[in-house]
């Protein structure tokens, strides 16, 4: 019902049902393929501005609120924002690298923010592989310890992995590790140029076969309800690749309002306008929607594939277009 009747209605009415807040680009890890443009700067939103924003979003009927980054736990007002999000009735999800999820922090998150899900990034099934990606020795062992204690406290946890040339030999092991921990593991990607077009992450693009194996492992673990959901979702709206521009938006730490976390052309800025004004009047959302519909038309005969991944993201295509051609030639083949 949700996927077949409500989501199409949300899209038709243009309700910003899902909103992601990139609270900060600061991070306590240093991931090799991080997509964030760390040179980006601006005037951060104040706590008062976040309070106004959250009240506006609640009135606009936003339900799902993702707190992400960078590392969202490094934002000085993370708990104040999280508490207000809970009080205003959002379904809060936190996406973190898990490095700061020590028991005292996990306890506060559970008590004050009451998130629906805390999703952590997993880069390998062993310390050697995971820490190679994060470039912080000890991050794997610390992550596992934090996950176990947070789970014991009662936080609902999930993990997300991106196949890379460095971890593709451990894909099945990563799924088994998460099975043992009792965590669902989601696959995301592909490894792509950073948001500023820097192609460096493409150096660790995995083989196409790695993607196929990762998707097989994920499909094997689908429950009947998630299987039904994805089928309903597919049948409900075949004309666009995603809900960009009509069902959600992203807000960066400096108040820039974006159609999607990876489409970096701002629709407006919260230092100058309200979220309601930007959402209802900026043409950026309509442009993103059109791009998503046009991209879907390219895949009516065959399934999408992009950088080896069985998907197609218009933002990745946009970032690839920013990348110098010689860099593409050098990096787009797996090493």
């Amino acid at each position: 019902m949700y996927f077949s009747t409500i989501l199409p209605k949300i899209r038709a009415l243009r309700i910003p049902h899902s909103v992601s807040l990139e609270l900060t680009y600061r991070c306590n890890l240093n991931c090799f393929y991080c997509y964030n443009d760390r040179e980006r700067s601006g005037k951060p939103l104040s706590l008062a501005q976040y309070e106004t924003l959250l009240r506006d979003l609640a009135r606009m009927q936003t339900l799902f609120l993702l707190l992400t980054g960078g590392e969202p736990l490094m934002h000085p007002h993370f708990f104040a924002i999280g508490r207000l999000s809970r009080e205003l009735g959002f379904v809060v999800q936190i996406r973190t690298n898990g490095h700061s999820l020590i028991p005292s922090v996990a306890k506060r998150i559970l008590r004050e923010v009451e998130p629906y899900l805390v999703e952590v990034s997993l880069h390998g099934a062993t310390a050697e592989v995971h820490d190679r990606q994060t470039r912080v020795p000890g991050s794997f062992d610390r992550l596992l310890a934090n996950l176990k204690s947070a789970q014991a406290l009662g936080l609902r946890l999930g993990a997300v992995m991106t196949p890379t040339a460095w971890n593709e030999h451990q894909i099945e092991d990563m799924f088994h590790l998460c099975d043992d921990l009792g965590l669902p593991l989601r696959v995301q990607g592909p490894v792509a140029p950073r948001d500023n077009g820097d192609p460096t992450p493409l150096r660790i693009r995995p083989s196409d076969a790695a993607w196929d194996r990762a998707m097989q492992e994920m499909m094997r673990r689908r429950t009947p309800s998630t299987r039904k959901a994805s089928e309903e979702n597919l049948s409900a709206e075949p004309s666009a690749l995603c809900s960009v521009g009509v069902a959600g938006l992203d807000i960066d730490p400096y108040g820039n309002v974006l159609a999607c976390i990876h489409l970096r052309t701002p629709a407006g800025n919260l230092h100058e306008q309200s979220i309601e004004t930007i959402w209802h009047h900026s043409p950026i959302f309509q442009r993103a929607r059109q791009a998503s519909i046009q991209a879907a038309q390219r895949f009516t005969q065959e399934p999408p594939r992009q950088l080896g991944a069985p998907l197609f993201c218009i933002a990745v295509e946009e970032n690839l277009a920013k990348t110098p051609c010689n860099a593409c030639a050098k990096f787009t083949k797996p090493e």
Partner: protein
């Protein structure tokens, strides 16, 4: 005799309106429910704890429905919400 039972929403329930329907998420159970117009009205009314009688009155004020039918539907709906642990009953 009026019931002294008080109904309230489970504290781990979140919901929003989508046109004349609603989406409800139960954080603890990981369940997503779709609410029709009457269901949305009941859940919105339950932002503050209510007795069955105040819920009933509110439904009759907002929807063109016979009292007997509304009473039967309300009782069935409250039972369904309790089964989903969306609702807490006290008293």
């Amino acid at each position: 005799m009026a019931s002294l039972e008080i109904f309230s929403l489970h504290p781990q329930v979140r919901y929003r309106q989508v046109a004349d329907e609603g989406v409800l998420v139960h954080l603890a159970r990981g369940r997503v429910l779709v609410l029709n117009a009457v269901g949305l009205h009941i859940v919105q009314t339950l932002r503050q704890p209510q007795t069955r009688e105040t819920l009933m009155r509110s439904i009759l004020e907002h929807f063109a429905v016979e009292e007997a039918q509304a009473a039967a539907d309300l009782d069935a709906y409250l039972r369904a919400l309790e089964r989903e642990e969306v609702l807490l009953r006290q008293g």
